[in-house]
Amino acid sequence: MRTGIVFHPKYLEHEQSPTHPERRERLAYTLDQLIEEGIFDIDRIMMIQPRKASLDEILEVHEPEYIEFLKKESEKGGIIDYDTNIPVGVFETAILSAGGALKAAEIVADGLVRNAFAMIRPPGHHAKPYTGAGFCYLNNMAIMVKFLQKKGFERVLILDWDAHHGDGTQEIFYEDDSVLFISTHQMPLYPGTGYPDETGKGKGEGYTINIPLPPGTSDEEYLLVFDTIIEPVAKEFDPDFIAVSAGQDNHFTDPITDLALTARGYGELMKRAVNLAEKLCNGRIVAILEGGYSVEHALPYTNLAIISALADLDLDFIREPESYLSQLRWRKRSYAAEKVRDNIREVKSLHSRYWRSLRTDG
């Protein structure tokens, strides 16, 4: 069993501005940690070069007018929204980022590796067919899922655990019953969507599951959500492929969110997702990097956690240094546990009419 890591030095170059949260430093520290751990010397880990996404592959998701706009603005620089400007040359990096997700899907689909992690930038899950948003330009996840479906993997489970709701991805598959989109995210928080009653539309009704989490949510509650909602529904849906929007901004040191997940928690979550893939779809799972802005204190450890879980390495020593733990005590909220239980109940009651597996224990 091998794990592919898709990465390119160009992912370090993208920068909206030197002080923007989504900046090159994000992967620089992580890379140091991975190199120091000797990750790339482990036999069952393969470093894979991305390719560029083709225009056709992008147009499966995005509207030609938007792509034309992005390409043009990227030549001289421009702006999409308050959080998302268009630095010169971003189009090239964005298609390499989307291509990184495609490459990860390709090597898993072709059996070159068992699973893969696309360690790509810029992220994608806020990007909608007609616009970029929230640090995102192209929806890497959606482009990858469309590609997988063309390859014959009809039913795809998207698990989006970025701290922010993956509104772009949700919108793209909102009326689609071949893609099950499950998102956990902090609420309230940007972009303000992702309420439990957003459940899908038309044919896609019931195929969007939103599980909002209150500030202070920590490992135990995340795993509870996984065990009580994600796992049973995933089994019932029985996907051909699992794709994870593995945002890392739910870490307890993230400067722009208020969640309290630990590196070990990431490892355990990822391990559960990997186990699901093993049970349901021959281990086929791809994780894509989305957000995550605690560049020094979280990302080196959380990225390592994700890779370790994918590659079935020992998670026992995956943690943060002790001196960071005081921040966790500040972040964790005792009321979060109860609020999460309430939310789980609400999601279950809303979705029990679509999913038999959510009916049993009420």
Partner: protein, 497 residues
Amino acid sequence: MIVGIDVGGTNTDIAYLEDGVLKTMKYPNEYGIVRILEKVSREVKLEDSRLIISTSLPINLISSRFDKIKTLTLLFPGPGLNYKEHGVVLKGCVNHRGEIVEDVDENEIERALRGHDYDCIAIAGKFSVRNPYIEHKVFEIAKKFADPHAIALSHHIGKLNFMLRLNTTVINSKISREVWMLTESIRKFTDKFFYYKGDGGIIPWRIAMRNPSELYNSSPSSVAYGAYYLTGEKNAIVIDIGGTTTDITLIRDGKPMVVEDVSVCGLKTHIRCVNCISIPYGGDSLFDGELKPFRLGKPLAFGGEHPTLTDLLNVLGEKIGNYRASKDGIERDVAEREVDRYIEILAEKVKGFQVNTVIGTGYLASYIIPEVARRAGKRCIIPENHQSANAVGVAVSRISLTLYARFDTEKGLAIFNGEIEGEQYERLDKNLDDEEIVEMCIEKVRDIAMSYGADEEDVKEVDLVYFNSYSVVKGGIVRGKIADVIVQIKPGLSGAL
């Protein structure tokens, strides 16, 4: 005067070089380095000469006694992967920024040092190249339990990759004491001498003591540079017939190819050395009806007790050493068959290369290599002094140092590691730009090399091997810059010749 000495598997070769005049000598290893240096010091004034030693001691120790020398490995990995299989995992951790984020527990360390049985100690902390504080602290404690020359610290290796650094440190721990003893015996003659590295550069002995694994497998590199110096051929296949092996090395543009991350005894390490194909036959390979891939002793022609490849050549009419002693009871056609088989093995290997010239070195080269080259369809050169091309290569090489530097301008700190005498910290001006950082490293490596007597000519070209920098942002403000830099004075022929 430059004196290059190569202590090989069987023989010790010496090259004297002064004003372009070259003289070489060969002694059997059984003389021992002290007796050989006594002879050398009668010829030249060692204190006024540049003495460079290439030694097979590390490779011999590793291949013969790796498992017998017991290492206690103390690890300080902090968070991350599980390293328990590789040593005793203890408290204490440096993070990627070089900050101490967990301190060591001195009692725990003492317990580990008391509770195990060992000959030497390897100490390795994650990110120690960015802050060696923990390794130094543990060293101070470990000194109470073991000879300091049998303790190896990982940060001297300079590079990131904890797993490889830890493996390299284990190797260093096993060879440190013997390399130190060798060093001490050479220092009786002069305190100013150099060791020859596996990649072909030379470094002052003080620097070598911090990471003696760099001396591993230096012979192929010395032969390649020697062959280049003796012939001026920039592109050639060098075949060196030694006592126990025959080594084939390719030189391109006057340099042999260096391989990184060499595996030693199943451990992937930070060791780099010259790529060579080694064939397990040489002049001393035993003949007992057929040629065997090992050595029992000297050839009959040199007073040995068993016939060898050298004796077979004498049976075929050569006059090597006391050639009459070779001929007892060996049939000519058997000798012919075995020599032919050996030549064929070499010719087959040589055919695979895209280069047209073969340079033969080693004391049997003139008897064997012309035929190898003929069969492979290549041009053959057997240069003068070919018997000791290895020692020539050692003599003609330049001081080559690699400097690993990390700048953290937010903390106002630079740390220099690698081939320098102990890591160095330097306080920084906050506003260095990328060019100034690189320039500072180049100046530094030049200064260090020149302080050790490097020729000005040799330090002119310093390669920037690696550069990466990015801003440190906190609270939306750029607070500083982090840069990683590797600069190197590349191995090569010294311009002072």
